[in-house]
Each structure stands twice: as structure tokens, then as C-alpha cells.
Symmetry: C2
Subunit: 383 residues, 2 copies
Amino acid sequence: MASIEVKNIYILGAGGSIGLQTLDILKHNKDFNLVGLSLSSNDHINEAILSVFKPEIASLRYENQISKYQSKYPDIKWVLGDEGLLEVARYHKPGLLINALSGSSGLMPTVEAIKAGKDIGLANKETLVMAGPIIKDLVIKHGVMLLPIDSEHFALWELLRQVENRDNIKKIAITASGGALRHLSRRDLVNVTKEDALKHPNWEMGPKITIDSATMVNKGLEIIEANHLFGFDYYDIETLLHDESLVHAIVYLKDGTKLMNISKNDMKIPIRKVLYFPYQIEDEPITNISKLTLKPMDEIRYPMISLAYEVGKIGGILPTIYNAANEAAVDLFLKDKITFKEIESIIIRYTLSSDNIKNPTLEDIIRVDKEIKQAIYNYYLGE
Amino acid sequence: MASIEVKNIYILGAGGSIGLQTLDILKHNKDFNLVGLSLSSNDHINEAILSVFKPEIASLRYENQISKYQSKYPDIKWVLGDEGLLEVARYHKPGLLINALSGSSGLMPTVEAIKAGKDIGLANKETLVMAGPIIKDLVIKHGVMLLPIDSEHFALWELLRQVENRDNIKKIAITASGGALRHLSRRDLVNVTKEDALKHPNWEMGPKITIDSATMVNKGLEIIEANHLFGFDYYDIETLLHDESLVHAIVYLKDGTKLMNISKNDMKIPIRKVLYFPYQIEDEPITNISKLTLKPMDEIRYPMISLAYEVGKIGGILPTIYNAANEAAVDLFLKDKITFKEIESIIIRYTLSSDNIKNPTLEDIIRVDKEIKQAIYNYYLGE
């Protein structure tokens, strides 16, 4: 790898799970130059990052953080909050921006980075769920690459590049572990605590996505993301339950052939491959497996899946509402304001009762995202 | 593993691929005691074995070998030829006999070993193809274990032990690499040389089984073996083409779940597990894979598959004829007496033109096996 040009890298959400794993790959790696990043609200994590990396521009979450960092690291250009994310995204040097932000706050930085001519490594699935058609138009217009970092979409991307003729494909499938509560029936979900729901069997991730795995909203968002990324009709996107999280995606050809992508449940694999793309790097060994289990999705157990298919098919502003209701509900659950099952009922209620907007603009999307969340917070917190 | 009792081991076909891999596991391994074996016609291989192992009984292939071995290794009881195999199988000490003989010569030693109360590690698929019902009766009667060493059957055996209720199973599948000539159409088979057919893409094996992989007769035998071992109807035994030889078998449950056994294409894995059974040993890592391809069997390309299904369904003496015709034909091909495609036509001709015997005895089976082979040799060699 020594001979490739040094690549400029930006990371939004550097203090989260994907962000830290990306930094771990970049550390002491002369193939890359970390130009900009957004830090977290956790000063310990931020200090650990800044002890290793010297970015040119960095964004902080809260205003009260900025003076301390500015005096300690005067060579860095410090920017702040949502506008700070956009400034990092717009920073003048070309490069690859890894968007590892959690939730709807990831949308506008993706838009700005594309407009600034940056390639995108997209771990923020809300970007495509909320604004798939707009993002795809921007990618074409600005001639940038959009590389998926989600394990399932990365797997699909690897498989689909190996099929010469798209017409030979019958359908695709992505897999789901079922999350922390997969061994419980719907009846047993009544007594689930926050601690129960945060124990994911296969992946170490942040709290939001871990809860999203348990409700299967995460897979719902991925179904919509897969539709936008690869253009498959919703009827041709299958979801499978897969205990071992080793098969990430399957491509079914019309002649009956199945192509299965298999790799360790380690996000560093897609991150590393996206960082080096278009240079190919070796696959890593899978250890200690002897069985793969693939089951049909249980849409009775996981009603958020059927809802995601419906929301995706209808399109317009509905995927934004599905996502916004989920973000507010998970936040309320993590703050002990609602029960686990109320997450689902909130999403169903707001998704089914809201008016659709057929071809929403970015402004519509941002506005409705805020309105839905505010309505939910008002109702449950009396704000 | 240090705490288990030392297990007595016998190996028939010690100089072949499975035999040598078994010896490699036993070497310097205090969990096992090699009591008896059958050596090969190759003195170099035999000497290499005897420089490490000191069995109590050993069988030689040819009479002219015996005096030399007897004077050099006087502490070993030396036995000879087909009868020698039976003497090793009958040797008085209990233990596990690994039958790694190639072809129909493996049948009677299995029978004698079972009658002598030995557990069987069965790599000789002809045993069950020729005399499945008789062998199963003997196993029950003598209370011994019959453990499959073929990678596919071993994989099925591991999967099936994990399914609590057999009624939940819809069907099973075994995979086939397609062998050395898988990239050729039937038309191109006309020009195939012995060297071409002996280049197996995934497995290092002896010449007979490597040719059997290229004709798909090996898979045909395995279909019949799977029927006998696990009791599945032929309609419920699927064969799949699988380039990578990593998924060895699949169990399909009625609820749509698929259980796939996956492991390195390394025969030492099933051999080691069979040697230690019922003690469980760890699975080994699979390296450098990122894709699994599963295709429907192409029965036009591989007519020996459909023939095996038919032969298996009809049963009786037909599987013995299918196997005997193949053994003679492959021998003739390896001696440059016939072309590659003639292997298939010989099997078809003798299988379709012979009278069936519905419930053959062991004597019937041994007699017909000899008669068919003799008829083929007479025809092609004018003997």
C-alpha cells in the first residue's frame, strides 16, 4: 500500500463507535492524512483523539467546550455545533469524508460535503433514508463517490460489483441478527429494561443503533437505504434473520445461483476497504465458525420491518417521519421516559397519522424531522 | 484433551490421502494408540509410517512384500491381501477403525470390524453404497458407532445433531465443487486428458476420487450414502454446485430456516473430530473468504447425478453395479485405455442393462461387483 497517494480524510462523529474505529485504522498510517473531524461531547474521548491526531479543522458540540480547546490547540480551526459540522464538510481540501454521525443530523453535512466535491463514506443511514433521491442527484451532479459503510450495504456493494449483467439478478437479501431481545416473544417484551435492550449479541455499537437493532428499526432503515443505493424494488429486497452475523448480504441470480458475502462481524473491514477504495485490500480470516443459520424474517415479531417496507414504497416524506419518530422515541426510552414497546407504538402512530409530501425538498425534510420530534417530546415530556 | 482415556485406533488404507492425514494427527499424540493398519504397495510410504508407528498388526498388499517387512519388523503380526484386511478388522482389541480404503474392497473389512465390536470412522463410501441396509442392521446388532468421515456427511451429521425434532426438517443438501473440469462444457470433454482430470481445484486427494469428482460419480455415491446414513428420501436430498468448497451441507427446516455447515476444505477437521468423538473439539478458522457461491446442480452437464438418484431409488444391487462399473472405468481411464467420456457411457450401459436383485446378500453384492468389473475388463482389454 506504500505507493498510493496520501488521501485526505474527514470524519464526522469521530467520538462514536465507527469514528473511533476509523481513527484506529488511520493511527500511524502514512497512507492517510486526517484533515478534519467533529468531536464528541465527551472531553476524555476528545483528548485521547487530539493526543494522536492534529487536524486542521475540528468541530465541537457545545459552546462551553470551545475556549478550553482553542487555548490548548491554537493551530486547529475550531467550529461549533450543527454549523460546525457543515464547515468541516465544506472545508476547502478535497478528500474522503466518513460520515459516522448518528441520526438525522448527518443529512446536511453529507449534502454540503458532496457539494464541496468530497467523496463520501456513508455510515449515516439517515442521509439516504430521508433524502435518497436528492442525494443521488447531487452525487451524479458533483461527480463524487458514495461508498456505503454499513456492513450489509458494503457486502451488497462487493457482491453486485461481481455480477456482470444486472439483468441476471432476481433479488437481494440483507441479514439481521435480531438484536439483544431476539430470544424474547412479543409478550415478554413488556418487561424489558434499558439494560436488556442494550446487550447486543454480536456487535459493539453505540446505544441508539443497539436499540434500533432490538426494535429492528435499524433493518427497516437499511431496507430503505438499500433501495436508494442499489435501485432494487422493495419487493426484491429480502430480509433474513441470521444469528451469527457473518453472512451480511445475498444476491440471488435468476439461474438459481446464490452469492453470499461472508466476513467477520467487524466494522473495521468495511471501513478499511472504503478508506482504501479503489485499491483492493485482502479479506480477513473468519475464526471459529462451523454453522450459519438463515431464517425468514418474522414480521409478526418485528412489526417495524413491514412498516419500513410500506413507508419505503410510499416514499416522499414518510421515511423521514418513520426515522424522526424513532429517534425521539429511542431518546425517550434511553432517558427512561417510555417503555421498550412504546418505541414501536410511537413510530406506528406518527407514521400512519401524518400527511405525506410526495417530492419533499431538503427544507421540507429538515422541517418535518423537527416537527415530528417536537410533537413527540411535547406529548411525553409536556414541554 | 489430556484427561480422556487412550483410544485404540486401526487404519485401513493408511498409505492413502485420508490414511496419511489420520496418521499425521496421531503422530506424537498420547490420546491414541495405533494398534493396527493396512499398508500400501509403496514401500517408501510404508517405511515412513513404520519409522514413526509400531502397530501390533499390519497388512500388506502383495506377497512379495512380506518377508522383507517380517525380518525388519519382527514384533509386528504381518498379514496379507484381502484376508489381511479382514484380520486387521477382526483383531481382538476393541477400538475405532478408520476405513480409508478406496473402492469396493472396503466393504468386507467394515463388516468384519463391526462384527468384532469396533466403532467405524467411515471414509470408504462404497461400504454404504453397496450394502447400506446390511451395514445399518449390523451396526444396531453389534452396538457400535458409525461415524462418517466424508466432508459432506460429517457436515450433515454435525448439523442434524443440532436439530431437536427431525419432523421440522424439510430437506437436506450436499455441495459439490464440480471437480477439475467444471469450467468445460460437455462438448469440450471430448479432448480431456488424464492430467486435466486429475487437477482438482479445491482438494488434494487420490487419483480415483479426483476422477470421481470430475465425473460427479463421487457426488452420486454420496447421495446414496446420505440416504443410508440419515434416512432421507432421495427426493429430499439436494445437490448444489459450490465453487469454494466451504459450505459442505445444508439442512432446510420447514419454517424456512437454513442451517449451513461451513469449514475449511481440510479433511483433517472431520478426521480429528471423529477420532475424538464424543469429545468435542474446537472448530478451526477459515481464512481469506468473502464470498460463497451456491448454484443448482446441472444434471445435463453431469448425467451421473441423475443416474445416481435413479439407481439409489431403485436400490437392490443397482448401486453396486453403478459403483463397480465406475471403478473399472476409472481404472481403465487412468491406464489410458479409454477416454474421459467413456467412463460415463460405461456406467450408463452396465447400470441400465443389468438385472436387479431386490434384497441382495453380501455374497450377491461381492459376486456382482466382481462380475461387472470382469465383464468390463474383458470387453476393453480383451482379457
